[in-house]
Amino acid sequence: MTKLCTVADLEKLHAELAKKKDPARRVIAVCAVPGCGAYGSEKVPPVLREELKKRGLEEKVEVIATGCQGFCEKGPITVIRPENILYISVKPEDAAEIVEETIVHGRVVERLLYQDPATGQKLVHEGDIPFYKYQTRNIFGQNARIDPNSIEDYIAIGGYLALAKALTKMTPEQVIDEVKKSGLRGRGGAGFSTGQKWEFARKAQSPDGVKYVIVNGDEGDPGAYMDRSLLEGNPHSVLEGLMIGAYAIGATEGYLYVRTEYPLAVKRLYIALAQAEEYGLLGKNILGTGFDFNIRIFRGAGAFVCGEETALLASLESRVGEPRGKPPFPAQSGLWGKPTNINNVKTWANIAPIIRNGAGWFNGIGTKTSKGTMIFSLVGKINNSGLVEVPMGITLRKMIYDIGGGIPKGKKFKAVQMGGPSGGCVPESLLDLSIDYDQLTAAGAMMGSGGMIVMDETTCMVDIAKYFLNFLKDESCGKCTPCRVGITQMHAILTDITEGRGTMEDLDTLTELADVVKNSSLCLLGGTAPNPVLTTMRYFKDEYIAHIRDHKCPAHVCKKLITYKVDAGKCKACGACLKACPAQAVTGQKKVAHVIDPAKCIRCGACFDACKFNAVELL
């Protein structure tokens, strides 16, 4: 690997690699993410290579172990290009058949195809599958084309050319202008204009000229894993965005702040940094343009609040991750008191495509106030869970029913929770809402970082509100009282309600407390903490009332308000529930209907799941 000293060197390398990695060549791309499907997905590519070697095809067919390709429900996904034949749930045992049938004989392996549940038809090509058909995979689509451990793969698809363009053909001001014109808004949740944020940092004075740029990869929202998949699947796209940002702002040092729960992302980023350094894309005098830049990796230590920028900075300085009041904003006084710009992983990943294709390309997608595409993790009670990238402005209904394939087991949709613990629950009546920063805020939810958790009729909304408060109660850093005490008290009230001790006055107290916490907390953790309670109370008040007045949990979730009982008429005395019960609460013998002792029952539902005759009832 030779060092790239000029932009011409990079362009030459790109041309060479692009020729070698011609899009018309035959490629088998497999998601090889540990934790994809079940275990073993990373074992598929070596077995495929072995099978190709046996047939002497290893030179003609390339096997790429890619990062996440999004369709996690059916993972690991294997795509055979150039035809784009898509196989689902591929196991190492399937490798021989794929090579023999598809590669050698050009036939499709029927049993590995995706079957449309609506029509029962087997779909061969990636573009036919509804999950992919309605997406616009501008950012995330690259994952499927490259090996995340190979900088050459990234350069082959045009990587680092945007950096070269910015460094040689644009002034920092022009870069900022382009980003501003594109209408890109922060993908971390708050949705502030990225270009404006950069401008503040550009204009801020630093006495010794030191400025910092930071990638916020502290993806703490439960139910969201887009940042992880981007960092693991395409680390160079984030690095390139960061470098362009550093050039625009005038920073010489960058940090990648990654959540400690993502060890693989950290590993891949180290590899990516080493490769970029070897090619001379990091360090002194990058591409001969006089631009110096270095990046360091910092692992978080497991605190949700560190996603907040001032708390993130505090922990980068090895202090306790407590937020502080603003101003001064990080753009004026950030890391070690120097002007600092922090953006989310997805925001940085959007930069290179914007510079490469121009602001017009980006702002041609989306709505009036929200431009471009957004990556969501569509999870929970949904058929096709996974990561989806859609243009802004698409309706929730389209996302859930067309892309997501609706609710499993014919259950009824109840709500979709957006924006993590700071967001809110959107009910069915608002499903035609389009995805847009401002429309979502008006509905009481927020874009957040893109978590989208679908809930069906078996999800209790009071329990969900309690779940989020329990989460935030632990994650509140404790610095300011409204957040520390307010959330604890709201959680106590909700616990009372879910355990049958609630009163109607509690609802008023909750509203009042929510108001106080929202308006008087120091940072946005407290400022948005009441959202799950407020939205569930706004859209699902009847459930709260059922818990309080009737002591019933309509979704049969709240343990204190449900009872399991065996219907003696239906019970076949098979002993399945007896075996399944972890609390030894079921008694019975052969040919005698079983009985559940409510005193011993821990209400885990194991008997309910185990019974094949629907004899266990939930009351």
Binding site: G35, Y225, R299, S318, A583, D609
Partner: protein, 334 residues
């Protein structure tokens, strides 16, 4: 007598300049630190010879039952180390004039009979005073001198990875935690000494982040994901059952030191949910699959799971009870 020097030329409308905080209790200190961090010059006036206020006399505070000193100590240290704060102890406010944005205050600093500016802290006066001749406490020997040399060498190796001491505390603690699966107390003391960071601050960081543990953990960890996606797909049930099978509550370690059961807020494997992570391996889990998982790792007999007859139940419950009491209790993970 010392007067807070607000620049005279400041117009009344413009709210800039120094801020005086009256009272050095927990509220006063927090206010002073926040203001100082925002770039204000702060004068913290306290009537008593030392700051800390009522909270320094309390054991726990309402309503969260947090340890009072744990909250207070970092603030005490923070106040004295913050360069933007001028501490005026043993002093009282006598006069306030002006309007919001431009106050002038008079503070009476009570005499100490020592010129604070000239005093070098040598302690000679204390030694020679015939009335209260309390000998000066000798500087304690550095902690590292009393340490087991083997251990010290091990810690030195970790600290050696960070030649730049600025901002190194968190990475060092992460490395310590990765090496020992918890943060040993002598390690923390040693780190505090080498980095010249007060021990209170080191503990503040060590207890704040969930990645750290002050109690030894098992050789392996089972993490049950309680993220939203896993929650709606039934992870609380998995946690309950796992906890029953292992006979330990979340946050506890089996008596043989083999497994620690933990909860995690999201593993980022939401499409598989409910997800369980054993060390670094992901497993999609249901209540029914737990036995299989434990068998795979050879942990099936931590407590026998499949009791066929109900007659066994009381005995079983007892075993669970003793197992639970033997375990090392950690800060609750919930």
């Amino acid at each position: 007598m010392a007067a807070a020097d607000i620049p005279d030329g400041v117009k009344k409308k413009k709210k800039v300049g120094a801020v005086a905080v009256i009272g050095g209790g927990i509220g006063g200190m927090e206010t002073a630190i926040s203001l100082a961090e925002s770039g204000y010059r702060v004068y913290l006036v306290e009537k008593n010879p030392s700051i800390g206020g009522t909270m320094s006399q309390l054991d726990k505070t309402f309503p969260t039952n947090d340890c009072a000193m744990c909250t207070l100590a970092p603030k005490l240290v923070g106040t004295s180390r913050q360069k933007n704060i001028r501490l005026l102890t043993n002093a009282e406010l006598v006069e306030v004039e002006g309007a919001p944005g431009n106050f002038k205050i008079k503070v009476l600093e009570k005499p100490r009979y020592v010129d604070v500016d000239k005093c070098t802290g040598c302690g000679v006066c204390m030694e020679s005073c015939p009335v209260r001749n309390t000998p000066q406490i000798p500087e304690p020997a550095p902690f590292s001198s009393k340490m087991d040399p083997e251990k010290r060498k091990a810690y030195e190796r970790i600290l050696g990875r960070y030649p730049d001491k600025k901002g190194a505390l968190l990475p060092i603690l992460q490395d310590l935690n990765a090496e020992y699966h918890y943060l040993p107390e002598d390690g923390l003391r040693y780190v505090s000494e080498v980095l010249a960071i007060p021990l209170a601050k080191v503990f503040h960081v060590a207890t704040f982040f969930t990645a750290f543990s002050l109690k030894p953990r098992g050789r392996h960890t089972i993490k049950v994901c309680l993220g939203t996606a896993c929650h709606v797909r039934g992870s609380p049930k998995v946690l309950d059952a796992m906890s029953k099978k292992l006979g330990i509550a979340p946050g506890e370690t089996t008596p043989d030191g083999e497994v620690t059961l933990e909860t995690v807020n999201c593993l980022g494997a939401c499409a598989l949910g409910p997800t369980v992570m054993v060390d670094e391996e992901y497993h999609p889990m249901t209540v029914g699959k737990i036995d299989q998982l434990l068998k795979k790792y050879g942990w099936a007999n931590v407590e026998k799971a499949d009791a066929p007859e109900t007659a066994d139940a009381p005995g079983k419950a007892e075993t669970t009870g003793t197992a639970a009491t033997k375990t090392t209790k950690e800060a609750p993970a919930q």
